[in-house]
Amino acid sequence: MATTLALTTYRLIRNGRKMTFEYAPAPESRAIVSIKPKYGHFINGSFVAGKKHFPTINPATEEVLSLISLGGVSDVDKAVAAAQKAYTKSWSKLSGKERGKYLYRIARILQERAREFAVLETLDNGKPIRETRDIDIPLVAAHFFYHAGWADKLDYAGLGHSPKPYGVAGQIIPWNFPLLMLAWKVAPALATGNTVVLKPAETTSLTALLFAEVCQQAELPDGVVNIVTGDGSTGAAIVNHPGIHKIAFTGSTEVGKKIARAIASTDKKATLELGGKGANIVFDDAPVDEAVEGIVNGIFFNQGHVCCAGSRLILQESIAEEVIEKLKVRMSKIRVGDPLDKNTDLGAINSKEQLVKIKELSAVGDAEGAQRWSPQCNLPDTGFWFAPTIFTGVTQANRIAQEEIFGPVLSVLTFRTPQEAIDKANNTPFGLSAGIWSEKGSRIFWASQHLKAGVIWANTFNKFDPASPFGGYKESGWGREGGKHGLAAYLKNGKESGAK
């Protein structure tokens, strides 16, 4: 009797109360960052004023953050001259051991100032603070740390005895992982004994300019790292400069092809990290809940602004319905909003131009007859936003299965047999990445042997490490970055891709 009473009371009090758990705003403070009203270039160890300027904005709010210099041919000239002088007079005279110690210093300072860089990257790029804090910036430091250790071990890199650097490397990087792409370029170049002239992307130059301060704090010899900001014309000036024999470019396939044509009759070497339309293959024996996480991570991480994004879900037909249902439930938990809020999962689209492209291609998807779905999202009024979106009923013949959208848009296709999955995955001019979801080891190795992709993730996605080579087959580019393989591009007497 006592039991019944207690139970009834318990039920009366606790029954039927509908709970919600709203997360209050949890903004990361901007106070740690101090942005100058105007920036010049970083040449020969100091900041020099630029002549023409253009604004750089916070894509989440459209607020102008600063004015960036538009580098011209003469700025590039000065930078290359500084890099050449630094190579001849100081950098090439240092032993690998000493070069390595400069890179260790840079790595440690980046770790010390990690929070500052994370906030700045979020402001300039629009990606969530959780990603810059937990993924981008730690990887940046790790890249410098890893490559610091190679500087005095190049004899062991499998490139022969005493491989030699080129001298000055011209490096052009994209806006999707601004500081990380800088690390991928600068760290191996310096470790192998080269000096650099680097151009960050138009919309995201701030962390590169702050990196210049780190070079100063590390007492890096003047001219070893030079940073010239600007637009496509600045990049072209670097590519065409007679003093640069080694080019490293990450960006669109279209521009990559331009570069390949531009250097065709020269003896310049280039590595190119270009676009992709990664196939994420989910077999019927996949660990389903983790596969759903992997699908979400594959296309919504970094707002889908990822060359190796899993932008095509190639799903075994027998489990398609179950997986799509779970995917939709999972997508409705994606938090879209203020990138500086620690609980935001999906930030702003980097620029108005990019947002237009995403909207255009999504409209194409509608026109091609695919079924579009997005969860309910309250998108802010200012800034550039796009809700996470999937298109089901997509086929290989659709443009949204072939063209890179570079946004949070997933195209879903189905397959019946393993061979069909491989064929669909490979049926593209791109070849950067692929994902395989299965609990069967032999199937994973079989698929990885058949997939024409430079990076293959099994039961995971979008994982990066300085020790793991990255790069694509076919039109996804030339060469690899990271790992022992990534050193080759910066050393003569080493294996070169796309070289004569």
């Binding site: 709970m19 809940d289 996480e293 039961n459």
Partner: protein, 315 residues
């Protein structure tokens, strides 16, 4: 019993069902749990989370040295965790050994705690190593003494040697004894099951056999209620609801000592099973030291400065 129409009660039918369950990728499950642990819960949502967590605590004492005095002190704390602040909610339940149930129930009723149920651990808790007769008697004794909830342990030896039918039958038996009125929680001892695949299997097995709640651990073995284990169990109850329209509760127990830990659990619930589960009816936290940390954090939120253990009572 109809077993939701999904199995027929035979081991063969059970094995067939368990076999078609998807596996759990350890790396994927752990990284999802780790990502959810980065959620930053502040200000109003933190206040709400603290109070919710308090109302979900199954305040526990399961020691050989338990005495009537100890149990009464725990009951007082359970009803009014902070004697100086009546806005602090009571806890979700008291959890004791079956020979302390009557003392707990009597004392709770005497101090205005009629709304706080008494849960008893049973079936030869914590090891589960005894005859079925003993386990049945253990359960019956607790119910007779006034327990509104039974926290039973599964036979891990049987589970690990593949005797799933035996594990299932034991739960069914205890379910029968509990009847409709007594609320049954089934403890897996996930630290002994080790793999997430096993946790998923055990979750479905227990739900099919009639559990009202699935519970991670006895609190006597580490690791206990790690976030990825709780994640896998929340996924199981979420999917079970899709299958059967029945909502089963989850109770992590063991190793949840700080407010931060508790809030991480609530985030897991919120973003996995969903907000419907954010009620003591469907989520409990088995803990003892946690309550004081929740109280100290609650004080800090209302006072605006950091608290000290001197200002919360020991039980």
């Amino acid at each position: 019993m109809s077993f939701y129409g999904l199995v027929d009660g035979s081991e063969k039918s059970l094995l067939k069902f368990l076999d078609q369950l998807s596996g759990v990728d350890q790396v994927g499950a752990e990284s999802r749990a780790a990502m959810l642990a980065t959620r930053s819960i502040k200000t109003t949502s933190k206040k709400w989370a603290i109070d919710t967590a308090i109302s979900m605590v199954d305040l526990t004492t399961l020691e050989g040295a338990d005495t009537p005095g100890k149990v009464r002190a725990l009951c007082s704390k359970a009803v009014r965790p902070d004697p100086t602040d009546p806005t602090v909610p009571s806890v979700g339940a008291i959890c004791v050994y079956n020979d302390m149930v009557e003392i707990a129930r009597t004392h709770l009723d005497a101090i205005g705690g009629k709304h706080v149920p008494v849960a008893a651990v049973s079936t030869a808790f914590p090891s589960g190593r005894a005859s079925m007769e003993v386990k049945i008697q253990d359960t019956q004794d607790a119910i007779n003494a006034g327990a509104a909830e039974i926290d039973m342990v599964i036979d891990r030896g049987a589970f690990l040697s593949g005797k799933y039918g035996l594990v299932f039958d034991e739960i069914v038996k205890i379910r029968e004894i509990c009847g409709e009125k007594v609320h049954l929680k089934v403890i897996f001892e996930t630290g002994e099951l080790v793999t997430y695949d096993n946790v998923r299997k055990a979750s479905y097995l227990a739900m099919l056999a009639g559990a009202d709640f699935i519970k991670t651990s006895t609190g006597k073995v580490a690791p206990a209620a790690t976030p990825p284990v709780v994640l896998v169990m929340l996924e199981a109850v979420r999917d079970f609801y899709t299958l059967t329209q029945r909502k089963i509760g989850v109770k992590p127990a063991g190793g949840i000592r700080t407010t931060k830990d508790a809030i991480k659990q609530l985030v897991l619930v919120n973003e996995t099973a969903g907000p419907d589960w954010l009620t003591p009816q469907l989520f409990r936290i088995g803990a003892s030291a946690l309550l004081n940390d929740l109280l100290m954090q609650r004080m800090k939120m209302s006072d605006g400065y950091y608290a000290s253990p001197n200002y919360v009572s020991i039980d």
